[in-house]
């Protein structure tokens, strides 16, 4: 390439543009994406000066993994199609799982109700009105057995969105596997186990950050030895983005949390390459198509560098950022809900072009209610159409080399690194959360986004433009029967009447003693679960030792 020629050509072009602008200005004075990165009119090789293919991209399956973590990527196997589902009782959710598996879904993803996620049994005062609403209610091993009835655990991979009481729910899953006769080393799946994002974004914390970090590293250590194929954490930017962050903030805060977990495990005496390969991630896919694709690529490259350069990982698998993606729930509108099918499809395509390992596509009715069966099916079909009909999976990382995509990838990486440096200076992610820095950054971005919509600077079709007067609401919205709570409470009574209560008390006393010392808590939690202690009883035992986290009012 003759660079001077290109510069001359660009200068001629700019002159021509200047003439056009006098007659007709562009749609906006400035084009800027959500992360505050200015978007140029056109990108050329001049935007990638000094850009080195080998250093920036490498080959698929090779450091720094910008192009893909696997050498054959989707030419080998499509991503796992994994719809997050759970509501009401274990029996009803079990029926939905059988429906999804029959529809061609390739992995399960369990949604738990809020009492379960916060470690309360269904009969707790604070559980009133919440039982079985946003997920399935699990009080004891009995419920977990019903949840996976007829699903051999060596045949599926199961993702479980559980954080504060993660050790308890994982122990229940292991106990079900044991009953089914499935050895632990054949279990595949993921637990979210990511407490740090719960404080600024998702809100299902129980204990403070420090005892929570112990539980997390206990799970790392236990699974490394006993459940080697299990992904021990899913470090999640999804909820940070849903809470209002920008794409750059999503990458930065997620990887900063990742750094905190790796450091905690190293401080607990583990080697980075023992647990590094089992770390996984979870990102959002929002509507700015190219920004999202660049975000996924930038996150892969940045994590590879962090693991190699900062933590001295030697095993390439420790450097691979493998991730699940969910399309952006916050981009869906209650107005003209069928439009959400289109939004979700574009977001899903961005996730695929960004190389996701698994994907959840949202249902069009989710701004109105829990998804109905029809809406879930359309969402799953959207993924299947991308995989089987569009041919976008036939070559790996097809947008690589685009002047725009590579320029964006570099800028997102650099801006995320700036945030990570800032968080390091504050003493790391835990300290930055305790100072309220992360929360404040997210809130400011959320408010800016809302103002842009209200001022008409950001168009949301059907909401602030192209509205219709009389909206037709989709029929058959899913409603959870309020009697679900009564059924759960009755079952708890039955459990407590039929189990060996002395054995439960012994198991809980042993757990308490372990929590007061510094032993790994997984074995005593597993013993308590098998004695039929409830989730609430186990969490209360830990509350008595660890205390509860209180968020400051504002």
């Amino acid at each position: 390439m003759d660079e001077q020629k290109l510069r001359d050509l660009k200068a001629q072009y700019e002159a021509a543009v200047a003439k056009v602008l006098q007659k007709m200005p562009e749609r906006r004075a400035q084009f800027v994406n959500s992360s505050g990165i200015p978007i140029e009119r056109v990108y050329t090789p001049l935007d990638l000066q000094g850009w080195d293919y080998v250093e920036k991209l490498g080959m698929p399956g090779q450091y720094p993994f910008t192009r893909a973590v696997q050498p054959t990527a989707y030419r080998g196997r499509y991503w796992t199609m994994r719809q997050y589902a759970g509501f009401a009782t274990a029996e009803e959710t079990n029926k939905r799982y059988h429906f999804l598996l029959k529809s061609g879904q390739t992995g399960l993803s369990v949604a738990f109700d809020l009492p379960t996620q916060i470690g309360y049994d269904s009969d707790h005062e604070l559980a009133r009105g919440e039982v079985g609403k946003v997920g399935v209610a699990i009080d004891s091993l009995w419920d977990m057995e019903r949840l996976f009835e007829g699903i051999p655990l060596d045949q599926v991979s199961t993702s479980m969105t559980i954080n504060a009481p993660c050790a308890v729910i994982l122990a229940m899953y292991l106990a079900v596997a044991e009953k089914q006769g499935v050895p632990f080393d054949q279990l595949r799946g993921t637990v979210q186990n990511d407490i740090l994002k719960e404080y600024p974004a998702r809100g299902t914390y129980i204990f403070g950050p420090r005892p929570s970090m112990r539980l997390i590293t206990n799970i790392f250590e236990y699974c490394t030895k006993h459940v080697p194929q299990w992904n021990t954490i899913s470090i999640s930017g999804y909820h940070i983005r849903e809470a209002g962050s920008t794409a750059v903030q999503e990458v930065a805060f997620t990887l900063a949390n990742g750094i905190a977990y790796v450091q905690a495990a190293i401080d607990a005496g583990m080697q980075v390459d023992e647990f590094g390969p089992r770390l996984s991630f979870f990102f959002n896919s929002h509507l700015d198509f190219f920004e999202e694709i660049a975000k996924f690529r930038a996150a892969r490259r940045l994590w590879a560098k962090i693991m190699k350069e900062r933590f001295g990982a030697k095993d390439p698998r420790s450097m691979m950022l493998r991730f699940h993606t969910q399309t952006a729930g916050c981009s869906l509108t209650a107005q003209q809900p069928l439009n959400n099918i289109m939004r979700t499809a574009f977001e899903a395509l961005a996730a695929v072009l960004g190389g996701t390992q698994s994907l959840h596509t949202n249902s069009f009715d989710e701004a109105l209610a829990l998804p109905s069966e029809l809406a879930v099916q359309v969402a799953l079909r959207t993924q299947q159409i991308i995989a089987y009909e569009t041919a976008v999976c036939d070559t790996i990382d097809p947008l690589a080399g685009s002047y725009y995509i590579e320029s964006l990838t570099d800028q997102i990486e650099a801006k995320a690194q700036e945030y990570i440096d800032k968080i390091d200076q504050m003493g790391g992610a835990v300290a930055a959360i305790e100072k309220g820095f992360i929360q404040k950054e997210i809130q400011e971005s959320a408010y800016r986004y809302q103002r842009e919509i209200e001022k008409g600077e950001r168009i949301v079709v059907g909401l602030n433009k192209f509205q219709v007067k009389e909206e037709e609401k989709p029929a058959d919205l899913l409603k959870v029967d309020p009697a679900v709570a009564d059924r759960q409470i009755a079952r708890l009574k039955e459990l407590k009447a039929s189990r060996d209560n002395a054995a439960v008390q012994r198991a809980l006393a042993e757990l308490k003693a372990a929590a007061e010392g510094d032993a790994n808590l997984m074995p005593p939690i597993l013993a308590a679960v098998k004695s039929l202690a409830t989730l609430g009883e186990i969490c209360d035992t830990l509350r008595a030792v660890f205390g509860e986290y209180q968020m400051a009012a504002m």
Binding site: L114, P115, Q117, I118, Y120, E125, L126, A127, R128, G129, E130, K133, V134, E198, A201, R202, G203, T204, E242, A243, G244, C330, T333, A334, Q335, A367, L368, A369, L370, Q443, A446, Y447, Q450, E454, V460, L463, K473, L477, K479, V480, P482, M551, A552, A553, M554
Partner: protein
Amino acid sequence: MQEGRKIRVLAAKPGLDGHDRGIKVICAALRDAGMEVIYTGLRQTPEQIVAAALQEDADVIAMSCLSGAHNYLFPRVMEILKEKGVEDILVLGGGIIPDEDIPGLKAAGIAEIFRPGTDTNDIVNYIREHVKRH
């Protein structure tokens, strides 16, 4: 409206729901509109919300719930207010609230329900027009 005192709003998250993007955006918008806003944080029981509203001398209670527990939590707040003989606090609700639940919530005394896509200016105006004491 009387001069001198700003409208005081207690913003609250009843129940176990942790989705607080919406309520925090509304807090910022109400503050920008000149109101005084106290946000309770997550996981408030109806009892705690009423106690906080009385202690803060709130003119408005604005609750947000996206977990589907609104049919228990919102009316329970109204019940406790009634038990305490409080009738002059304007109570608003927001979140993922299906159409068919709205008549029941309004019958329980929730003045208005604001759902996804609401312009924050509409909430500001609604409060200014309907605040009962001030």
